[in-house]
Assembly symmetry: C2
Homo-oligomer: 301 residues x 2
Protein backbone atom coordinates (compact mmCIF):
# COMPACT_ATOMS: atom_id res chain seq x y z
CA UNK A 1 0.00 0.00 0.00
CA UNK A 2 3.02 2.33 -0.23
CA UNK A 3 2.79 2.34 -4.00
CA UNK A 4 1.22 5.18 -5.95
CA UNK A 5 -2.34 4.69 -7.18
CA UNK A 6 -1.05 4.76 -10.74
CA UNK A 7 0.78 1.46 -10.15
CA UNK A 8 -1.81 -0.23 -7.97
CA UNK A 9 -4.86 0.60 -10.06
CA UNK A 10 -8.39 1.48 -8.95
CA UNK A 11 -9.80 -2.05 -9.04
CA UNK A 12 -7.10 -3.43 -6.77
CA UNK A 13 -7.35 -0.50 -4.38
CA UNK A 14 -11.09 -0.90 -4.01
CA UNK A 15 -10.71 -4.66 -3.67
CA UNK A 16 -8.50 -3.97 -0.66
CA UNK A 17 -10.68 -1.26 0.82
CA UNK A 18 -14.27 -2.38 0.28
CA UNK A 19 -14.37 -5.67 2.18
CA UNK A 20 -13.32 -3.82 5.35
CA UNK A 21 -16.10 -1.22 5.19
CA UNK A 22 -18.96 -1.21 7.65
CA UNK A 23 -22.23 -2.86 6.58
CA UNK A 24 -25.53 -3.03 8.40
CA UNK A 25 -28.58 -5.26 8.34
CA UNK A 26 -30.38 -3.09 5.76
CA UNK A 27 -27.76 -3.57 3.03
CA UNK A 28 -28.90 -5.95 0.26
CA UNK A 29 -26.07 -5.25 -2.23
CA UNK A 30 -23.13 -3.03 -1.28
CA UNK A 31 -20.24 -1.90 -3.48
CA UNK A 32 -19.71 -3.90 -6.69
CA UNK A 33 -22.89 -3.73 -8.75
CA UNK A 34 -24.18 -0.74 -10.74
CA UNK A 35 -26.10 0.70 -7.78
CA UNK A 36 -26.18 -0.11 -4.09
CA UNK A 37 -29.41 -1.83 -3.05
CA UNK A 38 -30.73 -1.26 0.47
CA UNK A 39 -33.91 -1.68 2.49
CA UNK A 40 -35.87 1.38 3.59
CA UNK A 41 -37.78 1.19 6.87
CA UNK A 42 -41.40 0.28 6.33
CA UNK A 43 -41.19 0.03 2.53
CA UNK A 44 -41.66 -3.06 0.36
CA UNK A 45 -39.61 -1.72 -2.54
CA UNK A 46 -35.85 -1.35 -2.39
CA UNK A 47 -33.93 1.93 -2.25
CA UNK A 48 -31.21 2.28 -4.91
CA UNK A 49 -28.21 4.59 -4.38
CA UNK A 50 -25.53 5.63 -6.84
CA UNK A 51 -22.79 8.25 -7.03
CA UNK A 52 -20.77 9.09 -10.11
CA UNK A 53 -18.40 11.85 -11.09
CA UNK A 54 -16.96 13.61 -14.12
CA UNK A 55 -13.64 15.45 -13.95
CA UNK A 56 -12.31 18.17 -16.25
CA UNK A 57 -9.56 16.91 -18.57
CA UNK A 58 -10.59 13.31 -17.84
CA UNK A 59 -14.27 13.09 -18.84
CA UNK A 60 -14.54 16.39 -20.67
CA UNK A 61 -12.21 19.20 -21.82
CA UNK A 62 -12.13 22.91 -21.03
CA UNK A 63 -13.69 23.46 -24.47
CA UNK A 64 -16.66 21.11 -23.96
CA UNK A 65 -20.01 22.90 -23.89
CA UNK A 66 -21.02 23.21 -20.22
CA UNK A 67 -24.59 22.16 -20.86
CA UNK A 68 -23.34 18.95 -22.49
CA UNK A 69 -21.07 18.33 -19.49
CA UNK A 70 -24.08 18.60 -17.18
CA UNK A 71 -26.17 16.30 -19.36
CA UNK A 72 -23.40 13.69 -19.38
CA UNK A 73 -22.75 13.92 -15.62
CA UNK A 74 -26.41 13.27 -14.84
CA UNK A 75 -27.02 10.63 -17.54
CA UNK A 76 -24.03 8.54 -16.42
CA UNK A 77 -25.61 8.09 -13.00
CA UNK A 78 -29.06 7.46 -14.49
CA UNK A 79 -27.57 4.80 -16.76
CA UNK A 80 -26.63 2.83 -13.66
CA UNK A 81 -30.29 2.89 -12.62
CA UNK A 82 -31.23 1.51 -16.05
CA UNK A 83 -28.72 -1.29 -15.45
CA UNK A 84 -30.77 -2.51 -12.46
CA UNK A 85 -34.17 -1.67 -14.01
CA UNK A 86 -34.52 0.98 -11.31
CA UNK A 87 -36.42 4.27 -11.30
CA UNK A 88 -34.23 7.27 -10.39
CA UNK A 89 -36.09 9.88 -8.36
CA UNK A 90 -33.80 12.33 -6.54
CA UNK A 91 -30.37 13.79 -7.31
CA UNK A 92 -27.80 15.79 -5.33
CA UNK A 93 -25.05 17.74 -7.10
CA UNK A 94 -21.63 18.43 -5.60
CA UNK A 95 -19.39 20.81 -7.46
CA UNK A 96 -15.72 21.66 -6.82
CA UNK A 97 -14.83 24.59 -9.05
CA UNK A 98 -12.13 27.28 -9.24
CA UNK A 99 -13.26 30.74 -8.09
CA UNK A 100 -12.15 32.19 -11.42
CA UNK A 101 -14.66 30.06 -13.37
CA UNK A 102 -17.43 32.06 -15.03
CA UNK A 103 -20.77 31.97 -13.24
CA UNK A 104 -22.37 31.58 -16.68
CA UNK A 105 -20.43 28.30 -17.15
CA UNK A 106 -21.86 26.96 -13.89
CA UNK A 107 -25.33 28.16 -14.86
CA UNK A 108 -25.12 26.26 -18.15
CA UNK A 109 -23.77 23.19 -16.35
CA UNK A 110 -26.83 23.17 -14.07
CA UNK A 111 -29.07 23.68 -17.09
CA UNK A 112 -27.64 20.50 -18.61
CA UNK A 113 -27.89 18.59 -15.34
CA UNK A 114 -31.49 19.70 -14.90
CA UNK A 115 -32.47 18.93 -18.48
CA UNK A 116 -31.20 15.37 -18.13
CA UNK A 117 -32.92 14.99 -14.76
CA UNK A 118 -36.21 16.31 -16.10
CA UNK A 119 -36.09 13.77 -18.95
CA UNK A 120 -36.81 11.09 -16.31
CA UNK A 121 -38.72 13.24 -13.76
CA UNK A 122 -35.77 13.22 -11.37
CA UNK A 123 -35.82 16.10 -8.85
CA UNK A 124 -32.54 17.84 -8.03
CA UNK A 125 -33.03 18.30 -4.29
CA UNK A 126 -29.78 19.88 -3.19
CA UNK A 127 -26.07 20.09 -3.47
CA UNK A 128 -22.87 21.58 -2.32
CA UNK A 129 -20.33 23.88 -3.96
CA UNK A 130 -16.71 24.25 -2.93
CA UNK A 131 -13.75 26.10 -4.28
CA UNK A 132 -10.79 24.14 -5.66
CA UNK A 133 -7.44 25.20 -7.08
CA UNK A 134 -7.63 22.41 -9.63
CA UNK A 135 -9.84 20.99 -12.38
CA UNK A 136 -13.64 21.08 -12.05
CA UNK A 137 -15.11 17.98 -10.36
CA UNK A 138 -18.85 17.31 -10.65
CA UNK A 139 -20.40 14.57 -8.52
CA UNK A 140 -23.95 13.40 -9.07
CA UNK A 141 -25.58 11.25 -6.38
CA UNK A 142 -28.93 9.68 -7.18
CA UNK A 143 -31.52 7.87 -5.06
CA UNK A 144 -34.39 5.87 -6.47
CA UNK A 145 -36.54 2.80 -6.19
CA UNK A 146 -36.96 -0.67 -7.63
CA UNK A 147 -39.48 -3.42 -6.96
CA UNK A 148 -37.82 -6.42 -5.33
CA UNK A 149 -38.84 -8.78 -8.13
CA UNK A 150 -37.62 -6.40 -10.85
CA UNK A 151 -34.17 -5.56 -9.46
CA UNK A 152 -31.65 -7.11 -11.88
CA UNK A 153 -28.11 -7.76 -10.67
CA UNK A 154 -25.02 -8.69 -12.64
CA UNK A 155 -24.81 -11.96 -10.80
CA UNK A 156 -28.01 -13.71 -11.90
CA UNK A 157 -26.88 -15.04 -15.31
CA UNK A 158 -27.46 -18.77 -16.02
CA UNK A 159 -25.48 -21.13 -18.23
CA UNK A 160 -26.75 -21.09 -21.82
CA UNK A 161 -28.42 -17.66 -21.44
CA UNK A 162 -28.40 -15.49 -24.53
CA UNK A 163 -26.44 -12.20 -24.20
CA UNK A 164 -28.14 -9.19 -25.79
CA UNK A 165 -27.06 -5.59 -26.23
CA UNK A 166 -29.19 -2.57 -27.11
CA UNK A 167 -28.15 0.04 -29.69
CA UNK A 168 -24.82 0.22 -31.49
CA UNK A 169 -21.31 -0.03 -30.12
CA UNK A 170 -18.10 1.96 -30.58
CA UNK A 171 -17.08 5.46 -31.58
CA UNK A 172 -18.85 7.13 -28.68
CA UNK A 173 -16.00 9.67 -28.40
CA UNK A 174 -17.18 11.33 -31.65
CA UNK A 175 -19.97 12.97 -29.65
CA UNK A 176 -22.36 10.29 -28.45
CA UNK A 177 -20.66 10.21 -25.02
CA UNK A 178 -22.09 13.71 -24.42
CA UNK A 179 -25.57 13.10 -25.85
CA UNK A 180 -26.70 9.60 -24.88
CA UNK A 181 -30.00 8.86 -23.12
CA UNK A 182 -29.95 6.32 -20.28
CA UNK A 183 -31.87 3.15 -21.27
CA UNK A 184 -34.31 3.42 -18.38
CA UNK A 185 -37.48 3.07 -20.44
CA UNK A 186 -36.06 0.04 -22.23
CA UNK A 187 -34.94 -1.63 -18.99
CA UNK A 188 -38.31 -1.05 -17.33
CA UNK A 189 -40.09 -2.48 -20.36
CA UNK A 190 -37.81 -5.53 -20.34
CA UNK A 191 -38.50 -6.38 -16.69
CA UNK A 192 -42.22 -5.71 -17.09
CA UNK A 193 -42.40 -8.27 -19.90
CA UNK A 194 -39.55 -10.76 -19.43
CA UNK A 195 -37.57 -12.55 -16.79
CA UNK A 196 -34.13 -10.96 -17.26
CA UNK A 197 -31.45 -12.90 -15.37
CA UNK A 198 -28.56 -10.39 -15.28
CA UNK A 199 -28.00 -6.88 -16.58
CA UNK A 200 -25.49 -4.01 -16.54
CA UNK A 201 -24.74 -0.89 -18.55
CA UNK A 202 -21.78 -0.78 -20.94
CA UNK A 203 -19.50 1.97 -19.71
CA UNK A 204 -15.99 0.55 -20.07
CA UNK A 205 -16.42 -1.33 -23.35
CA UNK A 206 -17.80 -4.76 -24.13
CA UNK A 207 -14.33 -6.30 -23.72
CA UNK A 208 -14.24 -5.29 -20.07
CA UNK A 209 -17.92 -5.42 -19.21
CA UNK A 210 -18.93 -8.83 -20.63
CA UNK A 211 -16.27 -10.59 -18.50
CA UNK A 212 -17.51 -8.60 -15.49
CA UNK A 213 -21.07 -9.83 -15.92
CA UNK A 214 -19.89 -13.42 -16.57
CA UNK A 215 -17.58 -13.34 -13.54
CA UNK A 216 -20.32 -11.95 -11.28
CA UNK A 217 -22.56 -14.81 -12.47
CA UNK A 218 -19.70 -17.32 -11.98
CA UNK A 219 -19.92 -18.35 -15.63
CA UNK A 220 -17.92 -18.22 -18.84
CA UNK A 221 -19.07 -16.69 -22.11
CA UNK A 222 -18.62 -16.73 -25.85
CA UNK A 223 -19.20 -13.78 -28.18
CA UNK A 224 -19.89 -13.89 -31.90
CA UNK A 225 -17.78 -10.95 -33.00
CA UNK A 226 -19.37 -10.87 -36.45
CA UNK A 227 -22.75 -10.26 -34.81
CA UNK A 228 -21.70 -7.09 -32.97
CA UNK A 229 -23.85 -4.05 -33.85
CA UNK A 230 -21.15 -1.61 -35.02
CA UNK A 231 -21.66 2.13 -34.96
CA UNK A 232 -21.10 3.79 -38.31
CA UNK A 233 -17.44 3.71 -39.40
CA UNK A 234 -16.40 1.59 -36.42
CA UNK A 235 -14.28 -1.53 -36.47
CA UNK A 236 -15.03 -4.64 -34.41
CA UNK A 237 -12.02 -3.71 -32.28
CA UNK A 238 -13.54 -0.30 -31.48
CA UNK A 239 -16.95 -1.77 -30.70
CA UNK A 240 -15.26 -4.04 -28.17
CA UNK A 241 -12.86 -1.62 -26.53
CA UNK A 242 -14.07 1.97 -26.96
CA UNK A 243 -16.31 2.27 -23.90
CA UNK A 244 -18.84 4.96 -22.93
CA UNK A 245 -21.60 3.25 -24.94
CA UNK A 246 -24.09 3.38 -22.06
CA UNK A 247 -26.11 0.62 -23.72
CA UNK A 248 -27.68 -2.30 -21.85
CA UNK A 249 -26.05 -5.74 -21.76
CA UNK A 250 -28.35 -8.47 -20.43
CA UNK A 251 -28.67 -12.22 -20.07
CA UNK A 252 -31.98 -13.98 -20.72
CA UNK A 253 -33.09 -17.55 -21.37
CA UNK A 254 -32.93 -18.61 -25.06
CA UNK A 255 -36.53 -19.76 -24.69
CA UNK A 256 -37.49 -16.05 -24.78
CA UNK A 257 -35.47 -15.21 -27.87
CA UNK A 258 -38.20 -15.22 -30.52
CA UNK A 259 -40.80 -13.42 -28.45
CA UNK A 260 -38.26 -10.86 -27.19
CA UNK A 261 -37.02 -9.98 -30.68
CA UNK A 262 -40.55 -9.67 -32.04
CA UNK A 263 -41.97 -7.53 -29.21
CA UNK A 264 -38.83 -5.37 -29.07
CA UNK A 265 -39.06 -4.45 -32.79
CA UNK A 266 -42.65 -3.39 -32.22
CA UNK A 267 -41.96 -1.38 -29.05
CA UNK A 268 -38.59 0.18 -29.99
CA UNK A 269 -38.51 0.16 -33.80
CA UNK A 270 -35.59 2.60 -34.00
CA UNK A 271 -33.32 0.92 -31.47
CA UNK A 272 -31.47 -2.26 -32.50
CA UNK A 273 -31.45 -5.24 -30.15
CA UNK A 274 -28.72 -7.75 -30.92
CA UNK A 275 -27.88 -11.20 -29.63
CA UNK A 276 -24.09 -11.08 -29.38
CA UNK A 277 -23.34 -14.41 -27.72
CA UNK A 278 -24.08 -16.53 -24.71
CA UNK A 279 -23.09 -17.45 -21.20
CA UNK A 280 -21.72 -20.93 -20.61
CA UNK A 281 -20.15 -23.05 -17.90
CA UNK A 282 -16.86 -21.76 -16.65
CA UNK A 283 -13.74 -23.85 -16.98
CA UNK A 284 -12.52 -25.90 -14.07
CA UNK A 285 -9.68 -23.45 -13.41
CA UNK A 286 -11.34 -21.44 -10.68
CA UNK A 287 -9.07 -18.41 -10.39
CA UNK A 288 -8.06 -18.04 -14.02
CA UNK A 289 -7.12 -14.59 -15.29
CA UNK A 290 -10.23 -13.26 -16.97
CA UNK A 291 -9.75 -12.13 -20.54
CA UNK A 292 -9.96 -8.44 -21.45
CA UNK A 293 -10.04 -6.67 -24.76
CA UNK A 294 -9.93 -7.90 -28.31
CA UNK A 295 -7.21 -10.50 -28.44
CA UNK A 296 -8.54 -12.67 -25.65
CA UNK A 297 -12.13 -11.89 -26.21
CA UNK A 298 -13.33 -15.41 -26.80
CA UNK A 299 -12.73 -16.84 -23.37
CA UNK A 300 -9.98 -19.41 -23.33
CA UNK A 301 -10.54 -22.76 -21.71
CA UNK B 1 -23.84 35.66 -15.11
CA UNK B 2 -20.68 36.55 -17.07
CA UNK B 3 -18.89 37.35 -13.82
CA UNK B 4 -16.48 34.96 -12.16
CA UNK B 5 -17.77 32.92 -9.23
CA UNK B 6 -15.36 34.79 -6.96
CA UNK B 7 -17.33 38.01 -7.52
CA UNK B 8 -20.81 36.55 -7.59
CA UNK B 9 -20.46 34.29 -4.54
CA UNK B 10 -21.88 30.84 -3.93
CA UNK B 11 -25.08 31.94 -2.21
CA UNK B 12 -26.10 34.21 -5.07
CA UNK B 13 -25.22 31.61 -7.67
CA UNK B 14 -27.34 28.95 -5.98
CA UNK B 15 -30.17 31.43 -5.47
CA UNK B 16 -30.20 31.88 -9.25
CA UNK B 17 -29.86 28.22 -10.08
CA UNK B 18 -31.97 26.35 -7.55
CA UNK B 19 -35.45 27.78 -8.20
CA UNK B 20 -35.18 26.59 -11.81
CA UNK B 21 -34.38 22.98 -10.95
CA UNK B 22 -36.85 20.18 -11.53
CA UNK B 23 -38.96 19.03 -8.58
CA UNK B 24 -41.44 16.21 -8.36
CA UNK B 25 -44.38 15.30 -6.20
CA UNK B 26 -42.25 13.29 -3.75
CA UNK B 27 -40.09 16.27 -2.68
CA UNK B 28 -40.97 17.58 0.80
CA UNK B 29 -37.96 19.92 1.24
CA UNK B 30 -35.50 20.53 -1.61
CA UNK B 31 -32.31 22.58 -1.54
CA UNK B 32 -31.94 25.04 1.33
CA UNK B 33 -32.17 23.10 4.60
CA UNK B 34 -29.50 20.83 6.11
CA UNK B 35 -30.73 17.72 4.28
CA UNK B 36 -33.23 17.20 1.48
CA UNK B 37 -36.45 15.55 2.70
CA UNK B 38 -38.36 13.29 0.30
CA UNK B 39 -41.08 10.65 0.35
CA UNK B 40 -40.20 7.04 -0.37
CA UNK B 41 -42.81 4.87 -2.07
CA UNK B 42 -44.81 2.86 0.44
CA UNK B 43 -42.99 4.17 3.54
CA UNK B 44 -44.42 6.28 6.35
CA UNK B 45 -41.06 7.74 7.38
CA UNK B 46 -39.22 10.27 5.28
CA UNK B 47 -36.01 9.68 3.33
CA UNK B 48 -33.22 12.18 4.07
CA UNK B 49 -30.47 12.87 1.52
CA UNK B 50 -27.29 14.90 1.92
CA UNK B 51 -24.06 15.39 0.01
CA UNK B 52 -21.00 17.21 1.31
CA UNK B 53 -17.40 17.54 0.21
CA UNK B 54 -13.94 18.33 1.51
CA UNK B 55 -11.22 19.65 -0.78
CA UNK B 56 -7.45 19.59 -0.27
CA UNK B 57 -6.02 23.02 0.59
CA UNK B 58 -9.54 24.26 1.44
CA UNK B 59 -10.81 21.91 4.17
CA UNK B 60 -7.52 20.18 4.95
CA UNK B 61 -3.86 20.50 4.00
CA UNK B 62 -1.44 18.11 2.34
CA UNK B 63 0.03 17.51 5.80
CA UNK B 64 -3.28 16.58 7.49
CA UNK B 65 -3.41 12.97 8.65
CA UNK B 66 -5.46 11.06 6.05
CA UNK B 67 -7.47 9.19 8.66
CA UNK B 68 -8.51 12.52 10.21
CA UNK B 69 -9.51 13.80 6.77
CA UNK B 70 -11.77 10.78 6.29
CA UNK B 71 -13.30 11.19 9.74
CA UNK B 72 -14.05 14.86 9.06
CA UNK B 73 -15.47 14.22 5.57
CA UNK B 74 -17.94 11.67 6.96
CA UNK B 75 -18.83 13.55 10.16
CA UNK B 76 -19.65 16.76 8.28
CA UNK B 77 -22.39 14.96 6.37
CA UNK B 78 -23.60 13.15 9.51
CA UNK B 79 -23.80 16.49 11.33
CA UNK B 80 -26.43 17.57 8.80
CA UNK B 81 -28.49 14.53 9.79
CA UNK B 82 -28.20 15.57 13.44
CA UNK B 83 -29.51 19.00 12.41
CA UNK B 84 -32.81 17.42 11.30
CA UNK B 85 -32.88 14.79 14.07
CA UNK B 86 -32.44 12.18 11.33
CA UNK B 87 -30.80 8.75 11.42
CA UNK B 88 -28.05 8.32 8.79
CA UNK B 89 -27.94 4.79 7.37
CA UNK B 90 -26.02 4.54 4.07
CA UNK B 91 -23.06 6.41 2.59
CA UNK B 92 -21.44 6.60 -0.84
CA UNK B 93 -17.90 7.93 -1.27
CA UNK B 94 -16.66 9.67 -4.42
CA UNK B 95 -12.98 10.37 -4.63
CA UNK B 96 -11.08 12.44 -7.23
CA UNK B 97 -7.39 11.89 -6.61
CA UNK B 98 -4.10 12.34 -8.52
CA UNK B 99 -2.58 9.08 -9.80
CA UNK B 100 0.66 9.90 -8.02
CA UNK B 101 -1.04 9.83 -4.60
CA UNK B 102 0.08 6.97 -2.36
CA UNK B 103 -2.32 4.06 -2.11
CA UNK B 104 -1.58 4.02 1.61
CA UNK B 105 -2.95 7.57 1.89
CA UNK B 106 -6.21 6.48 0.27
CA UNK B 107 -6.33 3.41 2.50
CA UNK B 108 -5.99 5.59 5.60
CA UNK B 109 -8.62 7.99 4.26
CA UNK B 110 -11.10 5.12 3.92
CA UNK B 111 -10.19 3.92 7.40
CA UNK B 112 -11.17 7.34 8.78
CA UNK B 113 -14.35 7.44 6.71
CA UNK B 114 -15.29 3.97 7.86
CA UNK B 115 -14.52 4.62 11.51
CA UNK B 116 -16.79 7.68 11.52
CA UNK B 117 -19.52 5.73 9.69
CA UNK B 118 -19.28 2.81 12.12
CA UNK B 119 -19.71 5.21 15.06
CA UNK B 120 -23.35 5.59 13.96
CA UNK B 121 -23.86 2.19 12.26
CA UNK B 122 -23.78 3.80 8.81
CA UNK B 123 -22.92 1.35 6.01
CA UNK B 124 -20.61 2.51 3.24
CA UNK B 125 -22.35 0.89 0.27
CA UNK B 126 -20.32 2.07 -2.68
CA UNK B 127 -18.40 4.79 -4.35
CA UNK B 128 -16.50 5.95 -7.33
CA UNK B 129 -12.87 6.90 -7.85
CA UNK B 130 -11.53 9.11 -10.62
CA UNK B 131 -8.18 10.55 -11.48
CA UNK B 132 -7.67 14.32 -11.32
CA UNK B 133 -4.71 16.55 -12.12
CA UNK B 134 -5.59 18.80 -9.17
CA UNK B 135 -6.23 18.70 -5.43
CA UNK B 136 -7.97 15.73 -3.82
CA UNK B 137 -11.77 16.06 -3.67
CA UNK B 138 -13.76 13.76 -1.37
CA UNK B 139 -17.54 13.72 -1.63
CA UNK B 140 -19.68 11.90 0.92
CA UNK B 141 -23.34 11.31 0.09
CA UNK B 142 -25.56 9.95 2.84
CA UNK B 143 -29.11 8.58 2.87
CA UNK B 144 -31.14 8.03 6.01
CA UNK B 145 -34.50 8.21 7.63
CA UNK B 146 -36.56 10.40 9.97
CA UNK B 147 -40.05 10.03 11.40
CA UNK B 148 -42.38 12.68 9.99
CA UNK B 149 -43.18 14.10 13.44
CA UNK B 150 -39.50 14.27 14.44
CA UNK B 151 -38.08 15.98 11.34
CA UNK B 152 -36.93 19.44 12.48
CA UNK B 153 -36.49 22.17 9.87
CA UNK B 154 -34.85 25.56 10.18
CA UNK B 155 -38.14 27.24 9.40
CA UNK B 156 -40.27 26.20 12.37
CA UNK B 157 -39.06 28.76 14.94
CA UNK B 158 -41.74 30.78 16.78
CA UNK B 159 -41.53 34.30 18.24
CA UNK B 160 -40.26 34.26 21.83
CA UNK B 161 -38.60 30.80 21.43
CA UNK B 162 -35.41 30.30 23.41
CA UNK B 163 -32.28 29.69 21.32
CA UNK B 164 -29.98 26.99 22.70
CA UNK B 165 -26.58 25.70 21.56
CA UNK B 166 -24.80 22.50 22.57
CA UNK B 167 -21.11 22.36 23.49
CA UNK B 168 -18.62 25.21 23.24
CA UNK B 169 -17.98 27.63 20.41
CA UNK B 170 -14.86 28.94 18.66
CA UNK B 171 -11.31 27.82 18.02
CA UNK B 172 -12.29 24.69 16.10
CA UNK B 173 -9.30 25.19 13.78
CA UNK B 174 -6.95 24.15 16.61
CA UNK B 175 -7.95 20.55 15.97
CA UNK B 176 -11.58 20.08 16.88
CA UNK B 177 -12.63 20.50 13.21
CA UNK B 178 -10.92 17.16 12.55
CA UNK B 179 -12.17 15.29 15.62
CA UNK B 180 -15.76 16.33 16.32
CA UNK B 181 -18.62 13.86 16.71
CA UNK B 182 -21.94 14.69 15.02
CA UNK B 183 -24.64 15.47 17.62
CA UNK B 184 -26.95 12.72 16.41
CA UNK B 185 -27.56 11.10 19.80
CA UNK B 186 -28.31 14.49 21.35
CA UNK B 187 -30.70 15.49 18.55
CA UNK B 188 -32.56 12.18 18.74
CA UNK B 189 -32.89 12.53 22.50
CA UNK B 190 -34.18 16.09 22.12
CA UNK B 191 -36.95 15.13 19.70
CA UNK B 192 -37.86 12.06 21.72
CA UNK B 193 -38.45 14.22 24.81
CA UNK B 194 -39.29 17.74 23.63
CA UNK B 195 -41.09 19.63 20.92
CA UNK B 196 -38.17 21.36 19.15
CA UNK B 197 -39.41 24.05 16.75
CA UNK B 198 -36.34 24.65 14.58
CA UNK B 199 -32.81 23.26 14.43
CA UNK B 200 -29.59 23.37 12.39
CA UNK B 201 -25.93 22.55 12.86
CA UNK B 202 -23.36 25.33 13.31
CA UNK B 203 -20.95 25.01 10.41
CA UNK B 204 -20.30 28.59 9.29
CA UNK B 205 -20.21 30.27 12.70
CA UNK B 206 -23.00 31.56 14.92
CA UNK B 207 -22.82 34.99 13.24
CA UNK B 208 -23.87 33.46 9.93
CA UNK B 209 -26.01 30.58 11.11
CA UNK B 210 -28.29 32.28 13.67
CA UNK B 211 -29.52 34.79 11.04
CA UNK B 212 -30.08 31.84 8.68
CA UNK B 213 -32.34 30.07 11.15
CA UNK B 214 -34.17 33.29 12.00
CA UNK B 215 -34.64 34.18 8.34
CA UNK B 216 -35.95 30.68 7.51
CA UNK B 217 -38.43 31.08 10.38
CA UNK B 218 -39.34 34.62 9.17
CA UNK B 219 -38.34 36.06 12.55
CA UNK B 220 -35.77 38.32 14.16
CA UNK B 221 -33.47 37.39 17.01
CA UNK B 222 -31.42 38.71 19.87
CA UNK B 223 -28.30 37.11 21.31
CA UNK B 224 -26.82 37.61 24.76
CA UNK B 225 -23.14 37.68 23.86
CA UNK B 226 -22.03 37.33 27.49
CA UNK B 227 -23.88 34.03 27.66
CA UNK B 228 -21.98 32.39 24.79
CA UNK B 229 -20.19 29.17 25.83
CA UNK B 230 -16.64 29.99 24.78
CA UNK B 231 -14.06 27.30 24.02
CA UNK B 232 -10.90 27.59 26.06
CA UNK B 233 -8.82 30.65 25.14
CA UNK B 234 -11.46 31.94 22.70
CA UNK B 235 -12.84 35.44 22.47
CA UNK B 236 -16.52 36.24 21.97
CA UNK B 237 -15.62 37.36 18.45
CA UNK B 238 -14.11 33.94 17.69
CA UNK B 239 -17.08 32.08 19.15
CA UNK B 240 -19.31 34.06 16.80
CA UNK B 241 -17.31 33.97 13.61
CA UNK B 242 -14.93 30.98 13.63
CA UNK B 243 -17.21 28.31 12.16
CA UNK B 244 -16.79 24.53 11.96
CA UNK B 245 -18.25 24.05 15.45
CA UNK B 246 -20.70 21.36 14.29
CA UNK B 247 -22.79 21.96 17.40
CA UNK B 248 -26.60 22.07 17.42
CA UNK B 249 -28.52 25.37 17.42
CA UNK B 250 -32.20 24.98 18.20
CA UNK B 251 -35.33 26.94 19.05
CA UNK B 252 -37.76 25.73 21.71
CA UNK B 253 -40.58 27.25 23.74
CA UNK B 254 -39.43 28.99 26.98
CA UNK B 255 -42.06 26.89 28.76
CA UNK B 256 -39.67 23.93 28.36
CA UNK B 257 -36.60 25.73 29.68
CA UNK B 258 -36.45 24.40 33.24
CA UNK B 259 -37.30 20.81 32.36
CA UNK B 260 -34.90 20.81 29.39
CA UNK B 261 -31.96 22.13 31.41
CA UNK B 262 -32.59 19.67 34.22
CA UNK B 263 -33.03 16.56 32.05
CA UNK B 264 -30.10 17.54 29.80
CA UNK B 265 -27.66 17.77 32.71
CA UNK B 266 -28.72 14.29 33.79
CA UNK B 267 -28.51 12.76 30.30
CA UNK B 268 -25.40 14.56 28.96
CA UNK B 269 -23.46 15.65 32.08
CA UNK B 270 -20.26 16.36 30.13
CA UNK B 271 -21.81 18.44 27.33
CA UNK B 272 -22.85 22.03 28.08
CA UNK B 273 -26.25 23.25 26.91
CA UNK B 274 -26.54 27.02 26.82
CA UNK B 275 -29.41 29.43 26.24
CA UNK B 276 -27.80 32.11 24.08
CA UNK B 277 -30.81 34.28 23.21
CA UNK B 278 -34.24 34.21 21.65
CA UNK B 279 -36.25 34.60 18.48
CA UNK B 280 -38.57 37.58 18.22
CA UNK B 281 -40.82 39.36 15.75
CA UNK B 282 -39.05 40.70 12.73
CA UNK B 283 -39.08 44.43 12.00
CA UNK B 284 -41.53 45.83 9.48
CA UNK B 285 -38.78 46.27 6.89
CA UNK B 286 -39.33 43.06 4.99
CA UNK B 287 -36.24 42.82 2.82
CA UNK B 288 -33.70 44.29 5.21
CA UNK B 289 -30.11 43.21 4.84
CA UNK B 290 -29.57 40.50 7.40
CA UNK B 291 -26.72 41.09 9.80
CA UNK B 292 -23.63 38.90 9.70
CA UNK B 293 -20.66 38.64 11.99
CA UNK B 294 -19.74 40.39 15.16
CA UNK B 295 -20.39 44.07 14.59
CA UNK B 296 -24.02 43.71 13.57
CA UNK B 297 -24.73 40.70 15.61
CA UNK B 298 -27.61 42.11 17.63
CA UNK B 299 -30.15 42.50 14.87
CA UNK B 300 -30.89 46.13 14.08
CA UNK B 301 -34.46 47.35 13.87
Amino acid sequence: MTRALRELGEDKLLAQVFPRLNRNSRVVIGAGDDCAVVKFRGAKDWLLLKTDCVVEEVHFTKETNARAVGWKAMMRALSDFAAMSGIPEFALITLAVPAKKKASWVGELYRGLNRAATRFDVAIVGGETSETAGPVVIVVSVAGVVERDRCILRSGGKANDDLFVTGELGGSIRGRHLRFVARIDEARWLTANFKVHAMMDLSDGLGTDVPRLARASKLGFSIDQRALPLSRACSIQQAISDGEDYELLFAISPRNRTRLEKLWRKKFPKLPLTRIGKLDRQSAISDQQLPRGYVHFRQRR
